[in-house]
């Protein structure tokens, strides 16, 4: 594969897959916090 294609693969994978995994993790963490808060209330 040429360098341009590899670079775009890394670019797309980092932002789209990396971003999806990062925000999924944050939303799960965030949801758990809220659930704890709700239970306390």
């Amino acid at each position: 594969m040429n360098v341009g294609a590899i670079a775009m693969f890394i670019f797309g994978a980092l932002i789209l897959w990396g971003g999806a995994i990062y925000f999924l993790w944050r939303s799960i963490r965030s949801k758990n916090n809220r659930d704890e808060n709700n239970e306390k209330c």
């Binding site: 594969m1 341009g4 294609a5 590899i6 670019f11 797309g12 789209l16 999924l24």
Partner: protein, 479 residues
């Protein structure tokens, strides 16, 4: 998690599998990812946050939500719901084609000539728009089966039906697409196909059409403008992080499209390698890719060709159903809110309407009707619905009030930039997309159809306005 999966299920549709890769390939290869990601950040995510904010703030489905934001705006919500209704009436028929092909594949295996088989045997396509032809009973039965599945999911409610179904369908869909990617990567010629998919042509970035394609791809693939996300967000608990949810849903949707591109181009690369046909001659999108090129490519696999065909069509069926249920839910929740009906009754009325409309697309001329109506429903009704939502929520109600509401609940705080991206940049781009297409249709027509038929298709735009206003005039029954 149920809300995220339901929203992802709504966003991930057939287009993620059969359209995204082709868009990348024809719009500068890997370089297309740059405008695509810019569009995601500037229009996709801000508009998704807006729809989540409207639903969560008002706790109502689209029509009554917009009415609550600004008196006399209920019709704009109905406009979104009716647009979704029109789109679902033929979208379900496309899912039915996939289901029918899946069953045929299971029983008989691949046809020797997929092109003739699909258009002549399955669709029984007629000679033109004026020749309605007969009903394809196989497709009609599959359409009724798809409606049955949707009814079953929605009748169980939001938690036990919609969320549960998406909790099963979305991970399974991801698993199926990963299987297709892994299989593609083991095939000779696959890397050449992927190279075609990703090699960047940065000069394409100077073409405004490439940017407009990126913005429309983002808009249409995130289920914006249907009022679905408003309805979904209205079910969220009081404390919900709207910003993080919007980022998660959008990125999961776009990441899925990017992944599916590897399955498509890897397999097409293999097809080109074994058949000796240059890759640019085998690349296609939409129904041409799904029902002609891909079955042909998969039938050439050295082993497991039938299994991977089943995996592919099953993925299409899941992607389609997870989107269709969400659009139908937008109609059902709107009717429940307006007329204080039970879920079962509202679902029954909506399904009865769909079952009257959908069969027209199972006739010999169904593909022509679908093509013309889809052009105006997806290309015009949805952007208009989104522009109306923006005007009512940001301009008339106040973007700052919604921003405050989102910031109270979310870890990532929105700055004033959000108001300008969602309230100014997005409507300008959506208007440009609509006007550019309108000028193309006016100068060159559409799809080679006679002007009369194109104009008849365009009639759905004023008709949607009229029906929306009639629905607003009907008395809201408070439960």
């Amino acid at each position: 998690m149920g809300f995220i999966l339901a929203s992802v299920g709504s966003a991930i549709g057939l287009g993620n599998i059969w359209r995204f890769g082709y868009m990348v390939y024809t719009n500068g290869g890997g370089a297309f990812l740059i405008p695509y990601i810019v569009a995601l950040l500037c229009v996709g995510i801000p508009l998704m946050i807006l729809e989540f904010a409207i639903g969560h703030y008002t706790k109502k489905s689209a029509p009554l939500a917009l009415e609550k934001l600004h008196n006399g705006s209920e019709w704009a919500g109905w406009f979104a719901v009716i647009s979704g209704f029109i789109i679902t009436s033929y979208y379900v028929v496309i899912i039915a084609w996939c289901l029918y092909y899946l069953i045929i594949l299971l029983i008989y295996g691949y046809p020797s000539d997929p092109n003739t088989y699909f258009f002549q045997n399955i669709l029984q396509i007629s000679s033109g728009v004026e020749d309605i032809g007969g009903v394809s009973y196989g497709i009609l039965t599959s359409t009724l089966a798809v409606w049955g599945i949707i009814a079953l999911i929605l009748s169980a409610g939001v938690k036990n039906g919609l969320e549960k179904a998406n909790k099963i369908m979305i991970p399974f869909l991801l698993f199926l697409v990963i299987l297709l990617v892994l299989n593609a990567l083991t095939l000779p010629g696959a890397l050449t196909g992927i190279e075609w998919y990703l090699t960047p042509d940065f000069s394409a970035l100077l073409d405004y059409n490439v940017w407009l394609s990126a913005f429309s791809q983002i808009f249409f693939s995130l289920s914006l403008g249907f009022g679905i996300l408003i309805a979904y967000a209205s079910y969220l608990p009081k404390k919900s992080d709207l910003t993080i949810n919007a980022f998660t849903v959008s990125l999961l949707n776009c990441g899925f499209s990017f992944l599916a591109g590897f399955a498509v181009f890897g397999t097409l690369g293999y097809m080109s390698y074994t058949s000796g046909i240059p890759l640019d001659k085998v690349v296609s999108e939409g129904i041409g890719l799904a029902f002609v090129t891909f079955p042909k490519a998969l039938s050439l696999l050295p082993f497991g060709s039938k299994i991977f065909g089943i995996v592919f069509f099953l993925a299409l069926v899941f992607a389609g159903i997870s989107s269709a249920v969400s659009i139908v839910e937008a109609s059902v929740s709107a009717i429940m809110d307006k007329f204080s009906l039970s879920r079962k009754k509202a679902l029954l009325y909506v399904l009865a309407l769909f079952i009257i409309v959908s069969p027209i697309f199972t006739t010999g001329a169904g593909l022509y009707y679908l093509d013309i109506i889809d052009h105006f429903a997806s290309g015009y009704l949805l952007p208009i619905a989104a522009i109306l939502e923006i005007i009512i929520a940001i301009w008339l109600f106040g973007g700052d009030k919604l921003r405050e509401h989102v910031n109270k609940l979310s870890e990532i705080k929105l700055g004033v930039w959000w108001k300008y991206l969602a309230g100014v940049i997005s409507p300008i781009i959506l208007t440009a997309v609509v006007l550019l297409d309108a000028s193309n249709v006016l100068t060159s027509g559409y799809g080679g159809y006679k002007t009369t038929y194109v104009m008849l298709g365009a009639l759905i735009i004023p008709l949607t306005f009229v029906v929306s206003i009639i629905l607003q005039k009907m008395k809201t029954i408070k439960g």
